[in-house]
């Protein structure tokens, strides 16, 4: 079964606006990662946040993590047309093997120029 569930499933915004995607997961984690997938391509790692971190920034990306609610959010500020892609969260479990990295179903983001 999927560990992570993203919300919303799809999001359409105007260029320059901010985009927020949410991820909820079920079990205890070591870390949570966000990936981007452009149509028909492999996933690209964006950012990793550890279970003892609450917020992390990378360029226009801001990720928050709330382990008490088992949820994370990805904020893309000042969106660009090139940000159009699907975004996935992935969880690394805190026990049972760090290699069992499981992905959510993704949020499809469309940024309209």
């Amino acid at each position: 079964s999927q560990q992570g569930e993203e919300d919303p499933q799809a999001l359409s915004i105007q260029e320059g606006e901010n985009a927020t995607m949410n991820c909820s997961y079920k079990t205890s984690i070591n870390n949570l990662q966000w990936y981007r997938q452009n149509s028909g391509r492999g996933l690209v790692h964006l950012i990793l946040i550890r279970s003892n971190e609450r917020e992390k920034h990378s360029g226009r990306l801001r990720v928050t993590l709330d382990t008490s609610k088992k949820s994370s959010s990805l904020l893309i500020t000042a969106s660009r047309a090139a940000d159009t892609a699907s975004y996935f969260c992935a969880t690394v479990p805190s026990s049972g093997g760090y290699q069992k990295v499981t992905f959510g179903t993704g949020t499809k983001l469309q940024v309209i120029p």
Partner: protein, 112 residues
């Protein structure tokens, strides 16, 4: 070119045939993974490997076999392909336990 490659990129086969998907990485990463991606399911982990000769099952291993005789290669075999195995298959590698995954370009498999 350095990186992670998959072959073939596209494959059409028939039900019951054996198919092997290849994955090769040049980073000497210890960890390698196979995922399948289907609409509505996101990515699901099929098998993973922590090192040469060490493999383990993921979420959906039935009908698949893996091997890892060399660190750089991690082939995935469908022993007797079924239509439900029509999917896009992604190989990934990681240099650190629990760290970022680096994905290949994917193999689109159609089972008729």
């Amino acid at each position: 070119d350095a990186g992670i490659t998959q072959s073939p990129r596209y494959k059409i086969t028939e039900t019951g045939r054996q198919v092997t998907l290849m994955c090769h990485q040049t980073w000497s990463h210890s960890y390698m993974f196979w995922y399948r991606q289907d609409l509505g399911h996101g990515l699901r982990l099929i098998y993973y490997s922590a090192a040469a000769d060490i493999t383990d099952k993921g979420e959906v291993p039935d009908g698949y076999v893996v091997s890892r005789s060399k660190t750089e290669n991690f082939p995935l075999t469908l022993e007797s392909a079924t239509r439900s195995q029509t999917s896009v298959y992604f190989c990934a590698s990681s240099g650190t336990s629990g760290g970022a995954l680096y994905f290949g370009p994917g193999t689109r498999l159609l089972v008729l």
